[in-house]
């Protein structure tokens, strides 16, 4: 536990020591606010729906930049060798790094609260606090899934740009398989399977303010699967 928090601490600080965190935050806030307020006055309705509907896409463009260097950079500079010859397990290092990126994600989400507060002030009958909290929770789980995928991709690519593009592609696949325009073209049972495999299905379910165990299990599985694969990938260097 101690080792995990030490890795977490270093990684989280490293985000703020490099320009990455700032660039990502600014890019994300600019993008979300632009997309939101572009239609805000047209619709004449104070709803956060649009904001949360955009998140899977804005996250897809932004979050891979957060994880692309996580392992690729350590391997490129060689710092991975002193790191993994310390008395720590690969699992501890993977988890520490992953949790650091999730913490930055939480910071990013926290910075969107001014938008939410603005909307709730403008709205005549206020916004549903419970549903908004649940939407945020869903956004955190969704982003955390993206980051787990990004970590895994970074663990086997030597180049950050390649890691960025591959993560984006992998996330896109998991986003698209569940969307109607894909499930529409396949038959019955398989269509249900694909819809449930897709990230958006579970994200929008949480966004409706419903806490369903199946959605939690889904996001939990995605996160566990990809952090597990990352650990395996990091361990595999031993037998290279």
């Amino acid at each position: 536990m101690n080792r995990i928090s030490t890795v977490w601490d270093r990684e989280f600080r490293a985000f703020w020591l490099s320009p990455i965190a700032y660039i990502i935050i600014i890019a994300f806030l600019a993008l979300t606010n632009f997309l939101y307020f572009r239609t805000f006055f047209l619709e004449g309705q104070a709803s956060l729906r649009v904001f949360f509907d955009f998140l899977p896409w804005t996250f897809m463009l932004i979050l891979p930049a957060l994880t692309m260097g996580q392992w690729a950079e350590e391997r490129k500079t060689g710092t991975i060798e002193p790191l993994l010859t310390l008395p720590v397990t690969e699992w501890q290092v993977v988890l520490g790094k992953y949790l650091a990126s999730v913490s930055l994600l939480a910071c990013i989400l926290l910075l969107t609260t001014p938008l939410v507060l603005t909307v709730s002030k403008l709205s005549t009958n206020g916004i549903d606090g419970g549903q908004t909290m649940m939407s945020y929770f869903g956004a955190l789980l969704l982003g955390a899934s993206y980051l787990a995928i990004g970590s895994w991709v970074s663990s086997f690519s030597d180049n950050q740009i390649v890691a960025f593009i591959l993560s984006l592609a992998a996330i896109a696949v998991l986003l698209f398989v569940g969307l109607p325009f894909v499930t529409y073209f396949v038959e019955g049972g398989f269509s249900v399977f694909l819809r449930n495999l897709g990230l958006t299905t579970h994200y929008s379910s949480l966004g409706r303010g419903v806490l369903d165990m199946r959605d939690l299990l889904y996001f939990g599985s995605v996160i566990y699967l990809f952090t597990f694969l990352t650990t395996r990938m990091v361990e595999s260097r031993k037998w290279s």
């Binding site: 030490t6 490293a14 020591l17 490099s18 060798e81 002193p82 993994l84 310390l86 260097r237 031993k238």
Partner: protein
């Protein structure tokens, strides 16, 4: 403290380390000597748990590297060949991080940091970012990190690479000073360094251990020669007379501007200097120069590793530099 039994490591089909066995005990500095690509770094990576052995076992401080990897690694301070550090961190921040990761109790970390900063001469650089440091100071930070938990075993991959001559002397002295309490395995391709610092030398070539012992023992292992370089002027049939001296195996000579330059090879342990002088005087020739050299560690190294051509030239020219 380091025990290695029949260790092998394959990269795909390439056998990088081939059935290597050795041990290093407390108070010893063992030098791992070999040409580039001989398997020195690979062996060290296996010992520190970065790579898994293909075959064989090794233990550090009594802990098997595969069975109890974390206990084994706790006992090791490791300086990798690349000395890669987190450039964006400050020196002290980095050392604090490494100390926590190495399991140094939190109450002792600051004291240990102060100590390694003093031992490695980092005092003036302590509050800079690692990215601002020169190569030599990078190396010192790497060394400081290896010493941080005061581990019983040190594995140092080319600890003096990238340092200037004054720093090299300093680091060698430092290694010798701390050696009494520790088992140290260090790799180098600089022969005088091995001779100067190490109590025992392991010579590795193409993944195989080809020689082991103190530098004296290694010198005895190979059938060396005594070599004399002579310059003479005048005298009749001097070359024939030199050839007849007892123990001489060959004499080659050529004429340069009226001076005769000879190279005599004699059996090991035979000192012919006085006889050469007497022979020259008897033949009426003037002895202008006489240089004697016997088997050096370079010869041992070259013979054991079977290096020829470029390597041999590089090694002998490196040897030439250090003789001066």
């Amino acid at each position: 403290m380091i025990e290695v039994q029949g260790l092998s490591k394959k990269y795909g089909d390439v056998l990088a380390v081939d059935d290597v066995s050795f041990s290093v005990s407390k108070g010893e500095i063992v030098g791992f000597l070999g040409p580039n690509g001989a398997g020195k770094s690979t062996t060290m990576k296996v010992l520190t748990g970065y790579l898994a052995p293909t075959e064989g076992t090794a233990s550090i401080n009594g802990h098997d590297i595969s069975g109890q990897p974390l206990l084994a690694r706790t006992a090791v301070g490791y300086l990798p060949e690349s000395t890669a550090l987190y450039e964006e961190m400050g020196v002290v921040d980095y050392l604090r991080y490494m100390g926590r990761m190495q399991g140094v109790p939190s109450g002792q970390i600051q004291g240990r940091i102060d100590e390694v900063i003093a031992t490695c001469g980092l005092g003036t650089m302590a509050h800079k970012d690692i990215g601002q440091l020169s190569k030599g100071y990078h190396q010192r930070v790497g060394l400081a990190q290896a010493l941080l938990s005061d581990p019983p075993v040190l594995i140092l991959d080319e600890p003096t690479s990238g340092l200037d001559p004054a720093q090299i002397v300093e680091i060698r002295a430092l290694i010798k000073r701390i050696a009494t309490e520790k088992a140290i395995l260090l790799s180098t391709h600089i022969l005088p360094e091995a001779q100067n610092v190490c109590s025992r030398i392991l010579i590795i070539s193409n993944g195989k251990l080809v020689g082991e012992g103190t530098s004296g023992e290694l010198l005895d292992m190979v059938s060396g020669n005594e070599e004399y370089r002579i310059r003479l002027r005048g005298g009749d049939g001097i070359v024939a007379k030199l050839e007849q001296l007892k123990g001489v195996s060959s004499v080659t000579s050529n004429n340069e501007n009226g001076e005769l330059a000879c190279t005599m090879i004699a059996e090991n342990g035979v000192d012919l200097r006085e006889q050469i002088f007497d022979t020259a005087v008897a033949a009426g020739s003037k002895l202008l120069e006489l240089t004697h050299s016997s088997t050096s560690l370079e010869d041992v190294f070259l013979q054991l590793t079977g290096t020829t051509g470029l390597h041999a030239e590089a090694a002998s020219s490196a040897g030439g530099d250090t003789d001066e």
